[in-house]
Homo-oligomer: 206 residues x 2
């Protein structure tokens, strides 16, 4: 996950469109993560990807547009991966919760540099751009709350306050990326198992 | 909590020592919190407190020293308020946990601008300065882990993995300051009650 790894080829053509755009975003997210937003120029990003400034400006009007695209892109993927699982009423709420805890921990570990909505970097966005990410975040949040409410109604969860419990579970899951070290002794699957167990206990799962 | 509120009097003498030092730290923490570290100069802090630059430099060699003092001061207070409670083996582990959850949520709400160790601002410190804060943080962390292990041994908690459960509870508590709004509809005491209940459930408290 170093920015040097971005430059696999120089002077790519404009043809690649979405592929190149994806590479710019991944590369920029790693650079923002490692050097900070202020410490990274749009020229630096272009150089790391191996494209000219004019190609760079063909894709993004400015650095803020790159940041906006990273956040929206990540949150769109995250919502697409989690919300349908949470909403699938054909499956047991406990199973859906377990699946979403796995996705949340795996994705936030694997795409850590893109998690910029929970970072003060987000204030570099215009309020409208920030709102877009927050709306996506809220869709996930609401889908989890609905799952908890549904489980409480059907009697498989026993919850005093679904809204507060939702915040507690989300904060617990979001915290992982700050301390979990893939190179450390704690296995990620083990961690996921424990977090599923802790969450089911919080929900008084029967 | 606005920096304008800092300037209650101008041109204070050097005599006040610790009182003035405390005012500088509180004022600087609010300014770092509101404008960012890079957006605040040592001259800005002096002006907000109402003291000359020479008085300011009498107390702190540079802006980094101010940041270091804010973090160490806050973490020292936090450890002093929590660790003895966690270590007090004359009391029931459930009661001690409940007391510490209250302190954690209340202090991190009331002194929010000083919680800079969990903020990327901390990278403005030298590694040694940062380590000092992390060592204090670890004393709290370890005392909570010890309480959980003690409760598990005495049979009042039932915990599969005390270390992971400690991280989950700390992340849940640390998350509150990002979303809890004192002016909102959720009462802080209500929130504390719910978090005590959720934590006891996670610990399988009997």
């Amino acid at each position: 996950m170093t920015s040097e790894g971005c430059a696999v080829a120089r002077k790519r053509s404009l043809d690649e469109g979405p592929v190149l755009r994806g590479r710019i975003l991944r590369c920029a997210s790693v650079m923002f993560y490692e050097r900070g937003y202020a410490g990274t120029s749009i020229r630096d990003i272009g150089e790391a990807v191996g494209i000219s400034s004019s190609t760079m400006y063909h894709h993004f009007a400015n650095k803020q547009a790159v940041l906006h695209a990273i956040i929206t892109n990540f949150m769109t993927d995250f919502v697409a991966a989690t919300v349908p699982v949470l909403h699938d009423r054909t499956r047991d709420p406990r199973q859906r919760l377990a699946d979403v805890i796995r996705i949340h921990i795996e994705v936030s570990d694997e795409r850590r540099p893109e998690l910029l909505l929970g970072n003060p970097i987000r204030y570099a966005l215009d309020p409208d751009q920030r709102t877009e990410g927050i709306v996506l975040q809220r869709r996930y949040h609401n889908a989890l709350l609905e799952l908890i409410e549904e489980g409480a109604e059907s009697g498989c969860f026993s919850v005093r306050n679904p809204a507060i419990t939702t915040m507690a579970i989300l904060d617990m899951l979001n915290g992982v990326r700050e301390w979990f070290d893939r190179a450390g002794t704690l296995d990620r699957d083990r961690l996921i198992d424990e977090y599923v167990d802790l969450s089911l206990k919080m929900l008084g799962a029967s």
